[in-house]
Amino acid sequence: MLADSPTPRFVPVARRIQETGDVVTLEFLFESAGDSSPQFRPGQFNMLYAFGVGEIPISVSGGSVDTKRVLHTIRAVGAVSTALAKLKRHDLVGIRGPFGKSWPLLDAGGFDVVVIAGGIGLAPLRPVIHHLPGHRKCYGRIALLYGARAPEELLYRRELDQWRCTPDFQVRVTVDRAGKDWLGDVGIVTKMLSKIRVDPADTLVMMCGPEPMMRLTAQTLEDFGVDSTRTFVSMERNMKCATGTCGHCQFGPHFVCKDGPVFAYHEIADILKQREI
């Protein structure tokens, strides 16, 4: 059992996929480290340690619960993430986890499910997207709304095309700006809400993206009639220990690493509006 493990396992990079200019996906095969399966649930994160640089929380962006394969998608924005993004095949990474609460896939049973992602926020939602079509009978209508900065910064482009072709799966993509060759939508992700067919009274939303985007979208969802108790968001804070011990990721009465990163929106809506927290 890896959860709550205080020491990292040393796992080699099995594959490196350059997603965009500054985003890579690293694949890890735990069996090559002689380890047991990570048994992650969609929405959970691992602590990834780049040797000599530091450790950061990164969501699991793919893999499978019944194999020893785990994917992490990383944007090179700080010292640790930049070091991780530069790793090559066979380089070792220290991995602790998985940690945190997962997306409410069981609670979503019977509901229309809308997945809303902004930028790198698609990474923690990708396992959900992998799950939904395979369990189609468990859910009502399903939809993905994805906003990114520009077409060249869209993640998982090949998969995105596959998802678009998946029957009964509504996929809407919008970007902030685009060139003439982009034939899709340009604009804010909330604008896409009116373009999908769901029953707001029976809809459950899973959302991850920049906080201002999530706040605006959550409000818009309420305006559409989606109950805020059925809107779930994944939060990002300064997670260090990942076990709720050090207090770095305290968010009001919550520790994001332990009580989150997935929260029901109504649990955190008030503190999410406070800029001091």
Binding site: R75, V77, G119
Partner: protein, 154 residues
């Protein structure tokens, strides 16, 4: 063939609008179709019309020398285009290009403004319909300006 007033009633912009007002404003409207890659208007053009898009997509673009045109918003069926025609200096501030075959109701802006001025109940009803999409576009511009998708890792 349906009259323009009948067609107009099907557009989301006039949903729940008094029939009398629809009849008044429809006198300023005509059907205009743009082929794919056709320009609805260009930056600097007199803003003498506004549009209700029936079907299709229009890309709002900015251009700069040595750069590809930049699309900062797309507007689609059910949306408005050309609000610059409602306030001085009545000048278009960007290019609007049809991305695909696009059908519109094009309103003569002077005719429309005169009707709003002549009957303030018409003007106020229109104000209430123009404000929400314009506020949404302002919000979109703020988010784009903040470049929210630029950082973070989870």
């Amino acid at each position: 063939m349906k009259k323009i007033e009948e067609l107009l009633r099907e557009h989301p912009f006039v949903q729940n609008l008094e029939e009398e007002i629809v009849a008044i404003i429809s006198g300023c409207a005509k059907n205009v179709v743009y082929q794919s890659d056709g320009y609805v208007f260009r930056e600097g053009d007199p803003a003498d019309r506004f549009f209700l898009i029936r079907h299709g997509t229009v890309a709002l673009e900015m251009t700069a020398p040595g750069r590809e045109p930049l699309t900062f918003l797309t507007v689609k069926g059910g949306e408005i285009l050309g609000a610059s025609s409602l306030a001085p200096p009545y000048r278009c501030s960007f290019d609007a290009r049809a991305v695909e075959l696009t059908r519109t109701f094009a309103f003569d802006a002077r005719c429309f403004r005169e009707k709003c001025e002549a009957d303030h109940s018409v003007g106020y009803a229109m104000l209430k319909r123009f404000m929400p999409p314009l506020i949404e576009r302002l919000q979109t511009a703020r988010f784009q300006c903040a470049d929210l998708y630029g950082g973070g890792n989870r």
